[in-house]
C-alpha cells in the first residue's frame, strides 16, 4: 500500500500542472510560404492581400529604398518581433525555469537576423505602462490555450509589414499562436494596427527542429556610404514614384489589384480581375523557396 501511494505521489509530482509544451531547441525556417517576399524581398508596389488603409498605401508609395543606405540610422535597424518570424528566421528557443518552484518564467528567443533577442514572459507579469519605451521586439507575455501558446506583444517600435515600405505603427498589437507538432513548429501571427490596417492581418510561418544548427553572428556597423547633406531623407513625392507599376507589369496583374486593401484578401476579389490572363510562361520568382532558387531578374 505504501509503495502504491509513493508511486502515485511520484506520478503526480511529475505531471504538469497545466499544458506546457517545451519549444526549446534550434529551429530552422521553412520558406515555402511567401518565399519571394521573405527571401530576396518583396517587389516594390506589391501591397496585395494586406488590409491596409490609404495612409499605409501613401506611406509605402513615398518610401524610397535608398533611405536604408543614405540614412545611417536605418542601416542596422532590425526586424520587429512580427517580421522577425519571416526574415532570416533561424532561431534558438530556450526556457527559463525558477529553480525553487520549477515553474516556467519565460521563453527566450535568439534570432539569426540582427542577433535579436526576445523574451516571452510566462509568469503573469503585467505589460508596461504607456510611457515606457518601445522596443523592436516589444514586450511579450504568454498564456497557454491547451497545447497552444498564445503570445501578446505590445510596445513595439514602428517598423514595416513588408520590406517595401508598407508601414506598421508602434500602436500595433501582435498576437501569436505557437503550436508544436513533434519536430515542426508553426506560429500564426495576427497583427492589429489601428493606424495602418482596416482589419486583422494574419500570417503563418513554420520551422523544423534542427539540432545541428549553429547560429552565426549577424553583425552590423552603420557607416556613411555616400556623401549627403546631414538630414537627407530619401522619399518620393506624391505621384512621382516610378517603381509602383513594375510589379503589376511583370505579372500581368491589373494595377488596382496590387494596391492592397482588405478586399484583396478574399476569393471574391477574383471576380474583379475580369480579363486577367497570366503570362504564358513564368519568368520571375517561379520556384522561389530560398534565396538561390528565385530566378531573379
Amino acid at each position: 500500500m505504501r509503495r502504491a501511494l509513493l508511486l502515485l505521489a511520484l506520478v503526480l509530482a511529475a505531471a504538469p500542472a497545466r499544458a506546457q509544451v517545451d519549444f526549446s531547441g534550434e529551429w530552422a525556417p521553412l520558406y515555402h510560404e511567401d518565399g519571394p517576399e521573405r527571401g530576396p524581398g518583396p517587389e516594390l508596389g506589391d501591397y496585395t492581400e494586406i488590409p491596409i488603409n490609404d495612409a499605409a498605401r501613401m506611406r509605402a508609395d513615398s518610401w524610397d529604398a535608398d533611405r536604408i543606405s543614405v540614412v545611417t540610422e536605418y542601416q542596422c535597424r532590425p526586424h520587429g518581433a512580427d517580421y522577425a518570424l519571416r526574415g532570416l528566421g533561424n532561431q534558438r528557443i530556450w526556457r527559463e525555469i525558477d529553480t525553487e518552484t520549477q515553474r516556467l518564467i519565460a521563453f527566450h528567443m535568439h534570432w539569426l537576423a540582427w542577433d535579436s533577442e526576445r523574451t516571452i514572459w510566462m509568469d503573469g507579469r503585467p505589460h508596461p505602462p504607456e510611457g515606457a519605451p518601445h522596443a523592436w521586439q516589444g514586450f511579450s507575455t504568454g498564456l497557454w490555450e491547451g497545447n497552444t501558446l498564445t503570445v501578446t506583444t505590445t510596445h513595439l517600435k514602428a517598423n514595416y509589414l513588408r520590406r517595401n515600405g508598407l508601414p506598421r505603427s508602434e500602436q500595433a498589437i501582435l498576437t501569436e499562436h505557437w503550436t508544436r507538432h513533434r519536430d515542426y513548429l508553426t506560429i500564426v501571427t495576427v497583427i492589429e494596427d489601428p493606424v495602418f490596417l482596416t482589419e486583422s492581418f494574419v500570417r503563418s510561418d513554420n520551422w523544423f527542429l534542427d539540432p545541428g544548427q549553429r547560429l552565426a553572428i549577424f553583425g552590423c556597423e552603420y557607416a556613411a556610404e555616400v556623401p549627403k547633406p546631414e538630414g537627407t531623407v530619401p522619399h518620393h513625392l506624391p505621384g512621382t514614384n516610378p517603381n509602383l507599376r513594375e510589379f503589376s507589369e511583370w505579372y500581368g496583374f491589373p494595377f488596382e489589384a496590387t494596391r492592397g486593401g482588405a478586399e484583396t484578401l478574399y476569393p471574391e476579389y477574383r471576380s474583379k480581375l475580369g480579363g486577367y490572363k497570366p503570362p504564358a510562361q513564368c519568368e520571375r520568382y517561379c520556384n522561389c523557396s530560398g534565396l538561390l532558387t528565385c530566378n531573379l531578374k
Binding site: 527571401g39 530576396p40 518583396p42 516594390l44 490609404d54 495612409a55 499605409a56 498605401r57 501613401m58 506611406r59 513615398s62 524610397d64 529604398a65 535608398d66 536604408i68 543606405s69 543614405v70 540614412v71 540610422e73 542596422c76 535597424r77 532590425p78 526574415g87 532570416l88 537576423a113 540582427w114 542577433d115 535579436s116 523574451t119 503585467p126 508596461p128 505602462p129 510611457g131 515606457a132 519605451p133 522596443a135 523592436w136 514586450f139 510596445h155 514602428a158 520590406r163 505603427s169 500602436q171 493606424v195 552565426a216 553572428i217 553583425g219 552590423c220 556597423e221 557607416a223 556610404e225 555616400v226 546631414e230 531623407v233 530619401p234 522619399h235 506624391p238 516610378p242 517603381n243 538561390l292
Partner: protein
Amino acid sequence: MRTRGIVAALLAAPIAVAALAARGESLAAFGAPDAAAALGTPFDGRCIPAGCVASPSNTPGILGRRALPAGRLARLGATPDFHHELLAGAQQNRLAQVGADAGVGVRLVQGKVYVLTGPGDNDGNVTVQVGTDGVLLVDTQTAELAPRIFAAIRTLSLEPIRWIVNTSARLDHVGGNDALARLGTTPASIGRPRIVAHENVGRRLVGVPSVSRDAWPNDDFFTPDKDFFFNGEAVVVSHMPAAATDGDSIVFFRRSDVISAGDLFTPGRYPAIDLAAGGGVQGAIDALNTILHLTVPAKYQEGGTYVVPGHGRLCDEADVVEYREMVTVVRDRVQDLIRKGSTLEQVKAARPTRDYDAEYAKPGSPLPDTFVEAVFRSLKK
C-alpha cells in the same frame, strides 16, 4: 522618516545592467561564401542576406541594401537587457508605485536622470537629475501641478533644487518655476535655484501676466551653448535657434547619456511651430538633426542615448529618426506644392500630412492644418 526610507530604498536599489562583453568572434556572413560557390562566382566578402531589401536604387551611385563586407562588421556593445529593464524592471515598478502615490508618473531613464509625467494626457514631461549636489529640473510644467511634481521629486531625493533649466518659454514648461523654486529651497540651500534658459525665453515672458517675475530665468545665456558640472556629470544646454520658437534649448546629460529635448521632439504629436514666437520648420528639422548627431544607439538601434521628449513617452534614437522623417517629408511635400504655385488653401486641400495624421494628430496637439500652415508660412518667409 518614511519618505527618507523610501528614498534610501530607491537609491540603493540595484539596476540590472547586463554585462556588455563583446564576443569578439569572427563573423560568418550567413553562409555567403557557400552561396557564391553555388553561383560559381568568387566571394567578395559581401552578400545580400535574405532578411534585407534588395530593391533597385534610384539614386545614382548608391547600391541597394547589402550586408557590409566582413571586415567592416563589428559586434557592437549591447544593452538590450537594460532597455528591457526600462520596460518592466523591478525598479521601474517601485518607481511607478511611489509616483502613483504622488499622482505623477515616475520613471528612471538611466544614470542619474528620471522623468516625471503629469496625470493628464497633455501634460508635459519634467526631467529630473538627482545626486549629492542636489536636484536639477528640466522644465517645471504648471504652477497647479507643482505640489504633485515636488512630492514626486521628494521620492527621488531630499536635496534642495539647485538648478532649473527651461527648454522653452511656453507656460507648460515654465509655469512651475516659482512654486518649485520655493518648495525646493531647504535650510541647506544657498538661495533660490538658478533658472537657466536662452535669453529669448526671458524676453518672451516679459508681459505675460500669468508668469510672475520670480518665475523668470535668472541665469540666461545668449551663446550657442551653456554648460556646467553637476552631480558628477557635464550638463550641456544648447540653444536650437528658430525651431519651435526662438528660445528653445535641449539639455544633454553627458555621463547619464540622456537628452531632454523639450518641445522640439514630441512623439505622437505634430510639432508646435510658433512662427509668431520666432519658430520655423527648418529650425525644427535642424534641431532634430542635432539631437540625432548627439545620440548613439546601443545594439542595433536600440537604447544607448535616451531622449526625453517635451510630451510623450521615453524614446531613443530610432524614435527620433521616425519623427525627423515625418517633419522632413512633410516639409518637402509642402515645398513642392509651393514650387508649383499652390496657395495655402490649396496646400491644405492637398492634405500633405494625410498618411501621418493617424499617428500625429492627437487631441490637445497641433492639428494637421495648423502644422501644414506653419510649414507653409515658414517656407514662404
